[in-house]
Amino acid sequence: MLKIENLKVRIGDREVLHGIDLQINDGETHVLMGPNGSGKSTLLMTIMGFGNYQVTEGRILYNGKDITSMPIDERAKLGIGMLFQRPPTISGLKLGKLLSAVAGGKTGDIPGYARSMNMEGFLERDINKGFSGGEIKRSEVLQLMVQRPDFVMADEPESGVDLENISLMGNSIARLLQKDMHIVNRQKSGLIITHTGYILNYIEADFGHVMIDGMIRCHGNPREILNVIKEKGYKECLACQQI
């Protein structure tokens, strides 16, 4: 579904990603771990196509199509969707109105989706204005439910979410990734950034990657990688230099 080849990315004058290679096949979910500032969010923002992230080398292929220079909205229309870690507040824009716009004017299942995310009371509120950390994340998942992307990226979906809501988040993202379907029939793929690994209790991820200083240093079983990081820290990944 997604293939990234030797991707180098600059933000302003600084190169943040120094040649990333990554392949995510249909139905696979990958998790991305790494210390703060290592470039994980930059990778997601670049895949989505945000303007501040300038690709200087390499390319991004989505279902075989080179999307490296494609505008954000066209990527979204191809089926790429993202759960943001810190989305902007937009004054006057009601969450419900955005959801209708995302649904192409059809209200369809919006009330039901909102109920399932405990967000019914937020449809008439300005998007992200005064939302708590957990509410922002629930609003993000709700938007993705309406958007129905084939490739789901999530930037720290569990951060700021209280224990009561973490299972709601986890199970909802699992449904977005068709985890309720048999592996053979599963089509949707995902790339999820996590620090804590809580999300792995709800989403059986297929592969894990560790990014340090703008490079992917390690691939492997996500739980094993997480255990190593928990016990020995990222130093171990650096020392390992698997790739």
Binding site: F50, D73, R75, G81, P87, P88, L93, L98, A101, Q147
Partner: protein, 369 residues
């Protein structure tokens, strides 16, 4: 006075549409009364609600002796050259709306002022909500789209009695050759509420106004302006509130967009008595190089007053546009959605039919962002 709208129907359809955008509801389905003045000719004064009167100003002055005390009282006749010009008119035109004591009108009265062919239109309105009454007025002002020049001088005096509530919603739809000088003021008695809304989304040569509310004990005033200055438009707008009575409060809110024109947004609140509160908020969006100049003034005189202001002027944040694009909206759709949100000021205490009218006036111009 004639109550004949036939002349309205002789107007080209496009002109009828322009008037409808300002809130004119010819069917009268959601209106309790109506006044229509074309140039200096009054075409309609009608009212179906009990306890509410809609009168041409000359008739009102003749009918009620006390009207003389309300005539050139809130607004002084020698305030400036425009008021002096209007005061000179031998036969003043305009409308008087009276909601008599305790009357609560559910639907608004519409006042429609249309500048068709004459170079100057003068209007003098008086709106009165007597003690305990509730009155909603929607004034739509428009000019013929082909008019090459013209001035509209409109005086409006508002009187809000004790425990009364008066809302005034004014929607302008002029053209690039018209200059507009409204002069209005409100006197709000104890526990009275005065809400004034102004919407101007279309090009106009010049609008200059600075309406004022004088507030007695526990009275409230709220002014909201939603405007777009197109290239060649000069909008010098302001509102003033004097918190004279203990417990009174005022809020002045502006959303201004420039597409190459000028918006000067003045706000002034004076807190001269204890237990008073006032807040000025101005937000400006520069879509094309132009001017948005916010001049908020808060003038506190006693320890028991709390006054504040906030102003912000800038462009649409790129991260907001890109966020919406990541949900599948095109750049144009994302920009229009953000602008529509920016202009979305929900006005507390306004009947839904009027909020809808404001929303419709903004939506109608959406293509013009």
């Amino acid at each position: 006075m004639p109550a004949d709208m036939n002349e309205f129907y002789t107007l080209p359809e496009t002109e009828q549409e322009r008037l409808t955008q300002t809130g004119l509801d010819v069917s009268m389905e959601n209106r309790c009364g109506s006044f229509f003045q074309m140039d200096q000719k009054i075409l309609q004064t009608t009212c179906s609600a009990q306890g509410v009167e809609v009168l041409a100003i000359e008739d009102a002055l003749e009918k009620y002796d006390w009207m003389a005390d309300r005539y050139w009282n809130a607004v002084k006749r020698d305030k400036d050259k425009y008021t002096k010009f209007v005061a000179k008119q031998e036969h003043p035109k305009g409308v008087v709306v009276i909601a008599h004591k305790g009357t609560r009108a559910v639907f608004p009265v519409q006042a429609c002022l249309y500048l068709s062919a004459e170079p100057v239109q003068t209007v003098h309105n008086i709106m009165i909500a007597e003690e305990g009454a509730e009155l909603h007025v929607i004034s739509g002002c428009a000019s013929a789209s082909g008019a090459k020049r013209g001035s509209h001088l409109g005086i409006t005096e508002f009187y809000v009695g004790k425990n009364a509530r008066l809302t005034s919603t004014m929607i302008h739809n002029w053209n690039p050759h018209i200059s507009v000088y409204p002069r209005s003021a409100a006197i709000v008695e104890e526990n009275g509420v005065f809400i004034s809304n102004y919407v101007c989304m279309h090009p106009v040569a010049r609008v200059q106004m600075n309406p004022e509310a004088i507030l007695a004990e526990n009275a409230t005033a709220r002014f909201s302006s939603i405007v777009i200055a197109h290239e060649g438009s000069h909008l010098d707008l302001g509102s003033r509130a004097v918190l004279q009575g203990k417990g009174s409060s005022a809020e002045l809110v502006t959303r201004a967009i420039t597409k190459g024109g000028t918006v000067i947004s003045r706000g002034y609140i004076a807190g001269v008595t204890d237990e008073t509160r006032g807040h000025i908020e101005c937000r400006g969006l520069i879509l094309t190089d132009g001017t948005i100049h916010a001049i908020p003034e808060i003038d506190g005189r006693v320890t028991g007053t709390e006054l504040s202001h906030e102003a912000a002027v800038g462009k649409i944040a790129r991260d907001e546009i890109e966020y919406l694009m990541s949900r599948g909206l095109s750049e144009e759709e994302a920009t229009a959605t953000i602008i529509r949100g920016f202009l979305d000021v929900k006005i507390e205490g306004l009947p839904p039919v009027l909020q809808k009218q404001i929303d419709a006036a903004i939506d109608a111009s959406e293509a013009g962002y």
